[in-house]
Symmetry: C2
Subunit: 213 residues, 2 copies
DNA sequence: GTCTATAAACCGATAGAC
DNA sequence: GTCTATCGGTTTATAGAC
């Protein structure tokens, strides 16, 4: 009996916690979209609250500040990237893994739900680097990518003469490349085309013919 | 006599106009730097006035709004790019001309005086496209680059299978690529190294060894 | 044209009732 | 936890004296 009550109480608590998590995920979904559309500085807390369908004060019960809200959004995104990277088949070559990561990121970017901060210029960049959960996951991802970069350089799939940091930063930057937005705005290409074109120019440059199209 | 007076009057007017132009150029220099450092949304008119050394109200005697100020800054920058492109030796190959443009832009980017708006996300992007002087010059530059791209594709220096828009957008995007900021922040490379690394990955990709380093 | 002072709007964050 | 109402600060832009 006592066990049943305890179990029931546990279930109820777990259910509330689940609802809490569900609500927070809904908030973060909205934040991801708004960050993708307008960026951090132009996104307002009023707007987030209105789109989620709650009052602004309620938003502050979940996240203590605008900065921590954006940091949570970015952290969740990196977690998804980590899960994606770790889920890649171990039979893939290192270069193919790296391309898969860029493909995945560009596709999310094109769907309008990548909470990327475009550059060093955003006011949140500094706050993010003080947000331990974000930094930690970013380091994990960097370590995974760094390993693959080293492997691809050993096999010659990537030039060993190219500093690893250059490859890493380039991969990160191509994942939220404005070229994708421009091409999408032009309307001449499908999302799949844009993904392949971007991955091609990123790794093969512009002298070699793309395998797609 | 009348001529002398007229001439003197003309000279005085011209001098005042020159001073006016000089002041406006000083303002635009400051704006370029602030736009490069913080971007449009985070740049404030108070800040611009303070750094120029004039009162904010005086700023509004030169430019009627923050939007028109940023638009003037961007327009002047495109004019410099046009002058640079038109000044390239006619003996250069088309590909070498394109690379020279990217080299020039990345160098300015690294110097911290490129008034680039990082992406589609800035609130000024829409206003810029309604600013006729800017749009016109951007079209002129696009036409020049488009011609070179076509030539480079005919000689096979660039892949003819790659859509021209992809090449054009890529060149524009690499000119203010955040990779340059990351590498500069890392401190391991000189500005010249960064320029060559970026130009190399842009045109040759990451499989081929860079000619520099 | 340059200044000081201020208007008008917006935004992040909080108080306090329920 | 959710709401309404509001505070405090910042920003763009302008009024008016000089």
């Amino acid at each position: 009996m006592a066990q049943t009550v305890a179990s029931s109480s546990e279930k109820k608590l777990s259910f509330r916690e689940q609802q809490h998590q569900f609500r927070e995920n809904a908030i973060l979904d909205t934040v991801n979209r708004l960050l993708a559309q307008k960026g951090y500085d132009l996104m307002t807390m009023d707007e987030v609250a209105a789109e989620v369908g709650i009052a602004k004060a309620s938003l502050y019960k979940h996240f203590e500040s605008k900065e921590s809200l954006a940091a949570a959004s970015m952290t969740r995104f990196i977690e998804e990237a980590l899960a994606m990277a770790r889920g890649l088949s171990p039979h893939m070559g290192a270069l193919e893994k790296l391309k898969s990561v860029v493909r995945w990121a560009v596709r999310i970017h094109l769907s309008g739900t990548m909470p990327s901060l475009p550059s060093t210029r955003s006011s949140i960049q500094h706050a993010l680097l003080s947000h331990q959960p974000y930094v930690q996951r970013l380091e994990e991802l960097t370590e995974i990518l760094g390993e693959w970069i080293g492997q691809a350089q050993q096999t010659g799939e990537l030039s060993p003469a190219l500093p690893g940091e250059v490859v890493l930063y380039t991969i990160y930057a191509r994942s939220c490349d404005p070229v994708a937005d421009f091409l999408k705005g032009g309307g001449a290409f499908s999302d799949d085309d844009i993904v392949e074109l971007l991955v091609h120019t990123c790794f093969e440059g512009m002298a070699k013919a793309p395998s797609c199209l």
